[in-house]
Structures are given as C-alpha cells and as structure tokens.
C-alpha cells in the first residue's frame, strides 16, 4: 500500500471491481465475436429486434463489450467505460425482464454464448451485481490527473 495515499484500499477495491467486471465482459464477448450467427439467434429469441437488424446487432455489440471493458480497466477512461457498461447492463435487464417475465419465454439468455443460463432472476441478479461493481469501481477510484505548474490535481476520474 502506498503510505502517501490514505485511499489506497479504496483504490485497490476499485481496480479489483473494474478488472472483475471487465473480465466478465471479455468472457461474454469472446464466443459472440467467434460465432456472431449464433449470437444473432440468441437475440432473435427475445423477439425485441426486427429480423432485419439481428446480424447488425450481433456483429457490433460484442465489440462494444470489449471496448467498454478495456476502458473500464484504465482509471483515465473508467467513467466512459462505466457509462457504456451500465448502459448495456440496463439494456440486458430490460430485455430479460421483458422476455422472461412479461412474455414468459423460456429462452437461453445468450449472455455467454453456449454456456448461457436461462433468462430469468439469476441473469438479472448477475447484471445487478455487475452494475454495483461498476459503480464501485468508479466511485472508489480517484484518478490523479497529471499535475500542471507544480499543482497536483485529484479528480473523480
């Protein structure tokens, strides 16, 4: 621990949260990038996206996950990464709630390729946990902006 920084523990927890969330997003993106056609089927099962745009979404969204995860790891871009990740997690929660609870579909959530669980409370619980970790990674982290004219500036991100 850095003795000059009284918030060292908070920083460590923030980085651990960021790395954990990023790791989950990398893992989630891997199979989707490998087999976008399979991911398109997973999206189709939700009946929320017009068929015409299934491929577009399946091809682009995993790369958003990867980029957001990379951004979350680095303190300088953490807030931007957190905005994207929280946006995606909110979208996932809405989609799972609509499909599983409103429509009553018994579908694979498609979150982690072939290893995905059935869309339902477990999926939503995981998304809420990831959202909490993402918020923790932002609010426990205080990034030191490079000092100008001899001043040390500490910002929120």
């Amino acid at each position: 621990m850095n003795s000059r920084n009284p918030h060292a523990l908070r920083q460590v927890v923030a980085h651990l949260c960021a790395i954990a969330v990023a790791g989950v997003f990398f893992y989630a993106a891997y199979e989707k990038i490998k087999w976008p056609g399979q991911f398109a089927i997973a999206i189709k099962n939700y009946h929320m996206v017009p068929d015409l745009y299934l491929n577009l979404m399946a091809l682009v969204m995993p790369w958003w996950e990867v980029a957001a995860a990379i951004a979350l790891i680095f303190p300088r871009t953490r807030r931007a990464g957190a905005i994207l990740i929280l946006g995606m997690l909110t979208m996932f929660i809405v989609a799972v709630s609509y499909a599983a609870f409103y429509k009553g579909y018994n579908i694979n959530c498609g979150c982690f390729g072939k290893d995905s669980a059935t869309a339902g409370w477990r999926t939503i619980g995981l998304d809420v946990l990831l959202s909490a970790c993402t918020l923790a990674s932002v609010y426990l982290c205080r990034w030191k902006r490079p000092a100008a004219a001899g001043f040390e500036v500490v910002t929120d991100a």
């Binding site: 087999w35 976008p36 089927i41 015409l52 491929n55």
Partner: protein
C-alpha cells in the same frame, strides 16, 4: 461529465469500426438479415395444391403444416421409410438422449456453429433433403436451425417438422423409428 460522454461515444465509434473490419476480414456475414425463400414440401404440395383466387375470394392463409418450409407427419414418415431425407434434432442434448427420431443428428440451436461438423460428418451435403424438428408446439429451435442451415451453410432443401417431438410421441405412428441415447 461531458468529457466522459464524449469519450464513451468515441469508444463506440472505434469499437464499431473494429466490428466492421472483423466482419470484412473474418466472418463476411451480411449486415442485414433479409428474408429468404423457403422450399415447398413435396408430397403435401402435390396432394393439396394452393387454392385459386380466380373466383374473387381471398386466399386463406395455409394451415401451418402446408406453409412453405413446413412438413407434416405423413411426409416425415414417408421420408423415414425410404431414407430420402436426413433428420436433425434441434433440441438440447438431454432431450435428445431421452428419445429422438432414429438416425436424427443432434444439432442444438444453442450450438449450431460449434456442432455443424457433426452434420457434415454424418455425410449430409448441402443439396440433400433435411428435415429439422424440435419439441413441437411453439418451439422455435427447429426454425432457428433451419434458417441458419439455409442462410449461412448453403443448404437448399431444409424443411421443418413443426409438430416435432410432441407429435412423434403422441401419434403412436413411429413405433421402432424412435431411438434413445446419445447415438443417432
């Protein structure tokens, strides 16, 4: 806050560009999923020609079993008897192991790309007649598998047995044409 939002938008642009490059160099998948023509089931089409609209009456929607791309139990049994079609079971592994049409290849809709080699390995070629089924009723797995086979693997004669496993079990017409276990 604006700085973070701008950074987020920039990240979206960069990652979208990465997706474009990946698709152009690797997947080469169509960006838009346009509808494709469905094959017409042979025996059903011969038995029940579509009604004419010459009389001025509107043409009613065909019953599900005579819609393009769908086969009924009679054609399934005929193809099983003369071996003129390959069967694909689109249900998950545990359902397949509990019982499946004899000779059917397991290709769960959740692992099409991972397991497509099982289909080729069974000697099925893109020109062969293929009938896909799942649990029946509102089960969509067979439609998803059939759509991918037609769209991304070049299969030209893929049909869906919509009433699927539910009818196989309830009809009592399949007799020894049902197998149990992990082998086709």
């Amino acid at each position: 806050m604006h700085r973070h939002l701008l950074t987020a938008v920039l990240i979206l642009f960069v990652s979208t560009a990465a997706a474009v490059v990946a698709n152009l160099t690797w997947h080469k998948m169509d960006w838009l999923r346009r509808p494709i023509a469905l094959p017409t089931p042979t025996t059903v089409a011969q038995k029940d020609p579509p009604p004419s609209s010459a009389g001025g009456d509107p043409i009613p929607d065909p019953p599900p079993e005579t819609a393009p791309g769908i086969v009924a139990i009679d054609e399934v049994l005929a193809d099983l008897a003369d071996g003129s079609a390959h069967f694909i079971d689109a249900r998950e592994d545990h359902d397949y192991q509990e019982g499946h049409i004899r000779g059917a290849i397991s290709l769960p809709s959740s692992a099409i790309y991972e397991r497509i080699d099982d289909v080729y390995g069974a000697g099925v070629s893109a020109e062969d007649k293929v009938i896909v089924y799942c649990g029946g009723g509102d089960c969509e797995a067979s439609h998803n598998v059939a759509d991918e086979l037609r769209r991304n693997f070049g299969f030209t004669n893929v049909l869906v047995y919509q009433n699927g496993w539910a009818e196989v079990e309830s009809s009592g017409r399949f007799g020894d044409l049902i197998s149990v276990g992990g082998e086709p």
